[in-house]
Amino acid sequence: LRHDEEFEEFYQASYGRTVALVAAITGSRHEAEDVAQEAYARALARWSRLRGYDLPDAWVRKVALRIAIDSGRRLRRNLVATVRLGAQRRPAGPDPADDLKYTPLGAALLGLPVHERQVIVLHYVADLPVHVIARESGLSVGTVKTRLAAGRRHLEQCLTSRPEGVA
């Protein structure tokens, strides 16, 4: 019972952050929520081990990003299919799930290469310092700094060339 309560507390406290993180990668809120829930489901199945970690949210973050980024995985493919199907059935109005893509920042983010986007998102959405991003991503600090700088430059170019929203 205590394990359940601990998980519930962890889950409630960190879920929104994880959704935001994944949405910044995928550009879709619905997709982000599905990926986040999959990551938490896997965490729940391993909670007896994860609860002993100093930072179980780092595990969830890693799993969620893996699921979101690895476009070859079945879940990802199915999500694509689901989004496509959803688009076919969508009524005339815009789907809130796609709003993120059409904000200036969302569009700029999706224009970044995935390796730059991941570092930018971990830094600005997950609020992780460079050395933590390096450790979690298995990259050198120098590589993270290089990708951050490149990502910032690309974002700036995109945002300044499209100052108005495109929605």
Binding site: D4, F7, E8, Y11, Q12, Y15, G16, R17, V19, A20, A23, A24, R29, H30, A32, E33, D34, Q37, E38, Y40, A41, R42, L44, A45, R46, S48, K62, V63, R66, D70, G72, R73, R74, R77, N78, V80, A81, T82, R84, L85, G86, L100, T103, L105, G106, Y124, V125, R152, L155, E156, L159, T160
Partner: protein, 390 residues
């Protein structure tokens, strides 16, 4: 752009997302149950892979007659598939929901459509139950695993003849030692009944996981070991044979990545060999995972149940290209209450005919045409492998 300004932009952008309410934990448990059930169903599924020369299989099926004929048979097989519907193995620890099964009854083979008991299977050794099962493509040959208290595991097979009558249960392979705490979590048998593969792993209260697992292959005719590869996984693992040969696809799924590996098990591999070195990527040549139990027997496509907001879809994906071929609604997401299985029950060799269940709704899909059916039973959600094999 200044760092602070960019940070503010992200803060504003992500604020509504951070406020997203977390669904109930029960929804996460439901996801896990569905994954477990899928793995369990894959343990002996007649979906049992594939990929071999599709042309050969298609030609064979075309010559076999009716579209409803579910089974493929090896050319010249002494055990031609019986007419009618697939068969299913039911372990004594599981129950068909609307069928009264007395406690402590042995395992059974049933006609999957009518629920009729074809054969009652008493374990070879007294006092223990069958812990895992596998069905050869066509559902006419079942291999069952039975652990014993002396630290060994034995395997037995039963065949269903051309008239639909089951033969005697007989032990195959000598008793094999198995390490304490290890379980057989997946089994597969090829169409000819000459190769058996199984995966062992330690199990905790949340289900089997590696490291420390093994993928083991035996020659069922001679009893000789063919291979024993160490495999490490924490999401799931399964193995399935392709077509009529000895080609085996191993699906190893970890948090890091999922991959399907194809290996020819015709000749033996020396001790200490590596699955990665002995195999090559399968499925579209990409090495990406289609996850366990999803391929049709001819290897042409993968099938799976996908949650699409309020409904569940049967999605068919080309194994060659990875593209979605078709999506068919099979039920409501609300039906995933953890009581009844949701997903593919059975599929014919090329996926032309598929049986699905989601909650209490059951369908037979032939060539994309959906017919609601009411089988003699409802498959419950299972919490472990081995209760059912198709």
């Amino acid at each position: 752009m200044q760092d602070d300004k960019l940070r503010d932009l992200f803060e504003d952008w992500s604020e509504p997302l951070r406020a997203a309410p977390a669904p109930a934990v029960a929804a996460l448990r439901s996801r896990n149950r569905r994954r477990t059930a899928r793995t369990a169903a894959a343990a002996g599924s007649a979906l049992a892979i594939v990929g071999l020369v599709a042309g050969l299989l298609v030609a064979n099926e075309a010559g076999s007659g009716s579209a409803g004929s579910p089974a493929l048979q090896a050319p010249g097989s002494a055990y031609p598939a019986p007419p009618g519907q697939p068969y299913v193995f039911v372990n004594s620890s599981a129950t068909f929901v609307n069928t009264v099964v007395a406690t402590a009854t042995p395992a059974e083979l049933r006609n999957a459509a009518t629920g009729e008991v074809v054969k009652v299977l008493k374990p070879v050794h007294r006092g223990v139950s069958f812990s895992a099962a596998a069905a050869a493509p066509g559902d006419r040959l079942f291999v069952l695993a039975q652990p014993d208290s002396d630290g060994t595991i034995s395997f037995a097979e039963v065949r269903i003849g051309p008239t639909g009558k089951a033969g005697a249960l007989r032990q195959v392979l000598p008793d094999l030692p198995i390490s304490p705490g290890m379980l057989v979590v997946n089994m597969a048998v090829n169409a000819q009944g000459t190769r058996l593969s199984f995966i062992t792993a330690a199990s905790d209260s949340y289900g089997p996981s590696g490291p420390g697992g093994s993928l083991v292959v035996y020659d069922l005719q001679t009893g000789a070991p063919i291979a024993s590869w160490p495999v490490a996984f924490d999401i799931g693992a399964s193995s399935q044979f392709l077509g009529y040969g000895n080609n085996l696809v191993a699906s190893i799924d970890t948090v890091e990545r999922g991959q399907d590996r194809l290996v020819d098990t015709t000749t033996a591999f020396p001790p200490g060999s590596s699955l990665l070195a002995d195999s090559r990527p399968y499925a579209g040549g990409s090495g990406e995972s289609f996850e366990a139990g999803d391929f049709t027997q001819d290897g042409s496509m993968a099938t799976g149940a996908v949650n699409n907001r309020s409904s569940l879809l049967l999605v068919e994906i080309s194994a060659a290209s990875g593209k979605v071929l078709r999506e068919i609604p099979i039920g409501s997401s609300a039906a995933e209450d953890g009581q009844y299985f949701c997903g593919v029950l059975w599929a014919s060799a090329n996926g032309h005919e598929v049986w699905t269940q989601c909650g209490t709704r059951q369908q037979v899909i032939v060539g994309g045409h959906v017919t609601q059916v009411r089988l003699a039973w409802l498959l419950p959600t299972t919490n472990g492998g081995g209760q059912f094999a198709w």
